[in-house]
């Protein structure tokens, strides 16, 4: 009985939203200055002006776009609340254009989160706290940040259902499974990925990101946007090469390797419809089966 209700609830969960047919998305591949919010805010306002000039509906900045990445003990010094002056200035400048950006959020309990936000028509629509904080190799994020504990999509006025992830989140299949269950139309990943591996004509990390973005787009039947920063911090080279992938899994536009850029890309929602007819993967997902199997694993791993 309970399961029937659950199934019915799931069936009714398909949200209908008004969405424009074409969208212009700006990929702002910037080089933020480490710990310098004032400078980085100017960078945001400048890019927003340029994107507006190109009639963008949405501008996407990389991870920690207001602060830079390798902050370490500077984390508490650059942290701000969601209702901060800098964020307000960005939303005001964007006007009707939607914005994705990143900063360090200090919570009321004084925890520090690596967050990305999605703002629409001057209002904060969603704040994602990075869940997977890499703490291996050159990364040390768990030392400085608290981990988010939600991965959720949200409905937007113009883009349908949107999912927002930050860098390492994008490498976890569970996050993508949730996004598929959410049936997102647009998945955005804000990244700060440093280059590693320089053999044979490509940066290995850039290649992996390309593979992930193209595969996910195809599996989700959604537009996937990855925006990665450029520039250097203590010898780390951020490689840029931001990317917009269509729902059939091919790259529609990409930013250059290593250089700052602002790519404005138009996507047509009709491509989403076609792809979902060709491969209705989200429709055919056996969500309850997945949940039951995960519950079984949970029982076996944590309760025996």
């Amino acid at each position: 009985m309970k399961e029937q209700a659950e199934t019915a609830a799931l069936k009714n969960d398909e949200t209908d939203h008004v969405a424009s047919r074409t969208l212009r998305i700006a990929l702002a591949q910037i080089d933020p200055r480490l710990g310098d919010i004032e400078h980085n805010l100017e960078l945001h306002l400048d890019q927003i002006e340029k994107a507006k000039g190109q009639q963008a509906d949405l501008i996407v900045f990389p991870e920690l776009s207001l602060t830079g990445y390798f902050l370490r003990d500077m984390v508490p010094d650059v942290a701000m609340e969601v209702e901060s002056v800098a964020i307000k200035a960005i939303l005001e400048a964007a006007g009707p254009m939607s914005v994705v950006g990143g900063f360090v959020e200090e919570s009321a309990r004084h925890r520090f989160y690596n967050v990305a936000f999605f703002a629409e028509a001057g209002q904060m629509a969603h704040v994602h706290r990075k869940v997977y904080l890499p703490t291996y190799g050159l990364f040390d994020e768990q030392r400085y940040f608290a981990a988010g504990n939600q991965i959720r999509a949200f409905d937007t006025q113009r883009f349908g259902r949107v999912g927002l992830l930050i860098c390492e989140d994008f490498w976890h299949l569970s996050a993508l499974a949730i996004m598929q269950a959410e049936e997102v139309d647009l998945l955005i990943c804000a990244a700060n990925s440093p280059a590693r591996g320089v053999g044979k004509g490509k940066i290995q990390t850039a290649e992996t990101y390309r593979n992930l973005a193209e595969t996910y787009a195809q599996l989700l039947g959604a537009v996937v946007v990855v925006v990665n920063r450029v520039g250097f911090e203590d010898g780390l080279c951020f490689w840029g090469n931001s990317r917009l992938v269509g729902p059939e899994g091919t790259t529609i536009a990409e930013g250059p390797l290593l250089d700052e850029s602002l790519e404005v890309v138009e996507v047509d929602r009709v491509a989403l419809r076609r792809q979902r007819l060709i491969a209705p993967l989200a429709r055919d997902e056996r969500l309850l089966l997945t949940i039951e199997e995960l519950k079984r694993i949970k029982r076996q791993r944590y309760e025996t």
């Binding site: 480490l34 710990g35 390798f70 320089v198 203590d234 080279c237």
Partner: protein, 279 residues
């Protein structure tokens, strides 16, 4: 070298690496508030690559090369340095170190060859740092990854620098990069030498070739292979053990001096900021 070892791929994309390293130099030098760099030029592959990169990144007028021969330095060292200087039309300064080094060792006539080599390296360091102040240029490092791992360098001597563009490239990879950069064949084909004494070569002194040890280090350090896996793969047991011991024994050279912890925040332990802090 056994074929399976030779097949370990150390290749790099020379253009891509040049592109990243030139940007790295521009970025790290300019953000530190400098326009210029200073480096010691020996005519070997390492300092030649760094000179070529610096000239490409900053323009020859912003690069000062300093040659610092000791009385036993070879003629080849002088000729090869000259070749680089002429090829790039890069400013150069010759500061021989024989007088001051010999004045010091007149008091310690029984000093070993190693002490002399270390003293020469540190003498050169003090000259580079003085020229750094004189010319308002940052000192560029020329130690490669093979040397840094094996500890084949003098702490606070040739290992001292403000910025090192080649410290994550193995010696074997530097030869590839040298080719991309168009460094003359005469420099690329000569045997690596620190020119520490007459006829000295790195590989004879170390007892193994860079081509082989670089492949071993790549698997051991970068790909995390364990000792038995390396031996099973075909590396000589004594080479593996020697490399493991050198990497471990020389780790102190790659670190800041150890500070006795007393307070709640101690430099480099729990007082952690990027070096690019505030830039």
């Amino acid at each position: 070298m056994k074929p399976e070892i030779e097949a370990v791929d150390l290749s790099i994309d020379g253009e891509l690496v040049t592109n990243i390293l030139c940007r790295f130099l521009q970025n790290e030098i300019h953000r530190a508030g400098f326009q210029k760099v200073v480096l010691g030029l020996s005519g070997g592959i390492d300092s030649s690559v760094v000179t070529y990169l610096a000239v490409r990144a900053l323009g020859a007028e912003n690069v000062l090369t300093v040659t610092m021969p000791y009385k036993t330095s070879s003629e080849a060292t002088r000729v090869d340095s000259q070749t680089i200087v002429e090829a790039l039309s890069v400013p150069t300064l010759d500061v021989p170190i024989t007088e001051q080094v010999d004045a010091y060792f007149a008091r310690f006539p029984d000093a070993t060859r190693l002490r002399l080599a270390n003293k020469c390296a540190r003498e050169r360091m003090t000259i580079l740092y003085d020229q750094s102040a004189a010319s308002e240029g940052l000192v560029l490092g020329t130690s490669n990854k093979s040397e840094l791992l094996l500890g084949y360098g003098t702490q606070f001597g040739d290992m001292a620098s403000a910025i090192n563009p080649i410290g994550d490239l193995y010696k074997t990879q530097l030869y590839q990069l040298a080719e991309t950069l168009g460094i003359p064949e005469s420099i690329r084909s000569k045997k690596p030498t620190g020119d520490l004494w007459v006829g000295q070569t790195d590989e004879e002194e170390l007892g193994f070739s860079y081509a082989e040890v670089d492949r071993l280090l790549l698997l051991m350090v970068d790909r995390r292979w364990r000792r038995p896996e390396l031996i099973e793969f075909g590396f000589d047991e004594s080479l593996v053990d020697r490399a493991i011991a050198l990497v471990r024994r020389n780790h102190y050279k790659r670190r800041m001096p150890v500070i006795a912890k007393l307070s709640f925040r101690t430099m480099d332990r729990d007082f952690r900021y990027a070096r690019d802090w505030g830039t």
